[in-house]
């Protein structure tokens, strides 16, 4: 007797047909639907922008074409790629640092009462320390170095990661931990197979809003003590009220982030969430 053999009348159908149909209220589930909606959404953005140009005039709201021309010119001159590259490196370094330390601290605080008691006042302090102060102190105490800059950014971000991961650690299902204990899972497997998957949504939240926060702080860091980077450029152009350049640099960065989001993060996330029967 083998009641559950996977065979049966498999309908001949391509990849699309094999996926369960989208729920009825999500009318646009297909690949082409996805593309259509995304395009419409992006088109809407540009339409709004153009309306802004008409309403506010090209000085306060330069048209997309002007900004594009600026981006092309700055790219050709090598300025934009240089500053963008520098900023991205800083963002990446600070991100890795903050996520690693923040996750470890958050796990410790979520799982041990003692760790939580000891670290909590510090957490609240760091969480609420103004970015400006942290940055200035880092520069003064460490020097105007790349290390200071990256550390300052990471310190600004770590408490946010910690707070999020701590919630995740607290919300973990004890049943799985118990199972792992009975079967004496090795430490590595405990983290990889039991803890990490449960933290995944929290890591995703911390990561996404973290990348954004880091980039916001990198701007301040670059403003206060670096001689290159997007933040440096944006502030310079702000002094001259060159909205075109500000938008150009901002959009260049946002585009990179959009690419990372759609080409790297989302495929990874889809993989990690395959097991959910109803992936959103």
């Amino acid at each position: 007797m083998a009641p559950d053999t996977g065979q049966g009348v498999a309908r001949a159908s391509g990849a699309a047909g094999a996926r369960p149909r989208a729920r009825p209220r999500d009318l646009l589930g297909g690949r082409s639907g996805t593309f259509l909606v995304r395009s419409l959404s992006v088109l809407g953005f540009f339409a709004l922008w153009m309306a802004g140009t008409l309403l506010l005039g090209p000085r306060l709201c330069p048209s997309p074409a002007t900004v594009a021309a600026f981006v092309v010119r700055e790219t050709a001159s090598g300025e934009l790629p240089y500053h963008l590259g520098v900023t991205l490196l800083r963002v990446a370094a600070a991100f890795l640092l903050a996520m690693t330390i923040g996750t470890l601290a958050g796990l410790a605080m979520g799982r041990s009462r003692t760790a939580n008691l000891v670290m909590e006042p510090w957490l609240v302090l760091l969480l609420n320390a103004p970015a400006l102060i942290v940055i200035v102190l880092a520069y003064i105490w460490i020097g105007l170095t790349e290390t200071a800059a990256i550390l300052a950014v990471a310190i600004n971000k770590i408490p946010n990661v910690t707070v999020t991961i701590r919630e995740g650690a607290r919300a973990m299902e004890p049943a799985y931990m118990e199972m792992a204990r009975v079967y004496k899972f090795p430490k590595a497997s405990l983290y990889r197979d039991v803890i990490l998957p449960q933290l995944q949504p929290y890591l995703a939240a911390a990561g996404r809003s973290g990348l954004a926060l880091i980039w916001k702080i990198v701007l301040v860091v670059e403003l206060l003590g670096r001689s290159n980077g997007v933040g440096f450029q944006v502030h310079l152009y702000f002094q001259m009220f060159d909205v075109r350049a500000i938008l150009g640099y901002t959009l260049a960065f946002v585009t990179v982030m959009l690419l990372i989001e759609f080409l790297l993060v989302q495929p990874l996330e889809r993989r990690a969430n395959r097991w959910r029967s109803r992936p959103a």
């Binding site: 200035v136 520069y139 003064i140 020097g143 003590g225 001689s227 440096f232 450029q233 310079l236 009220f241």
Partner: protein
Amino acid sequence: QDRPTLRLGLLKFGTVNWEAQTIIDEGLDERHGFELRIVSFAGGDATKVAMQAGDIDVTTGDWLFVSRQRAEGAPLTFVPYSSSIGAVMAPCESDIASIEDLRSKRLGVAGGPLDKSWLMLLALAERRHGIDLARETSPVYGAPPLLAEKLRQGELGAGLNYWHYNARLETEGFCEIVSAQEAARELGARGDISAVGYIFDEGWAQENRDLALGFVAASREAKAVLAGSDAAWQRIRPIMGAENDAVFEALVRRYREGIPDRPVEEEEADTRAVYRHLAEIGGEKLVGVAQEMTPGTFWQALKDGS
């Protein structure tokens, strides 16, 4: 070929760049036996941080800052650079023609409530017109570029802003109502006093006396070049960010007007007098513990008759 390097921390695209670039373009640093390296920053605060961190030798600032730091034990010192200073601007065809017309207007104030131009203006209004500007207008503090923009948009009736913003506004139909130099005169200055200068650590200057003096000399020579030569201006035009000829000309004119032309001793005496008034108005918040301008605020070596 092993000339000592002098690291000068500046706001990129700031007005001091023009002179620094001229020093390099004209080879003035080489002539005085040093190599000038410009370290660019995006904000005025950044240069102060860099100075504290010891990453640059010289930067720019004003005597209020230097005096206060000296009083607190940081031996900074000051060399006058320019007397171009802020002024109140309003649309030429508006009903604002004098300080008295500022009553009940929204007045943008760059640099915040402790900005020295603003404090001097307060004193002027009080003495000459019996107006308490801080109460009888609604001052709006904010970032200088934002305030300039708000003045253009008409959200502000008038604005006290830095000179290079004002030079642009001049070409767009805005007129000067009153300048901070005028206020300084009211407070006892006999001529223009400097608005900004180079600041550096006195100890450093002691150890690198030749370098520091060489730099001051190169700066003076660069000013002479810029005062006389239009070609020199054309050379630095790309870094000035002037969007049209009118702005360019206004910037050149205003810059030339701001070149200090008085002996340092005279200027220091005037500044000291003004300082006393400012200390009264601004209080401890502004000047810290020093009620008088701290001795040595103006670099001693300038007066030693070199």
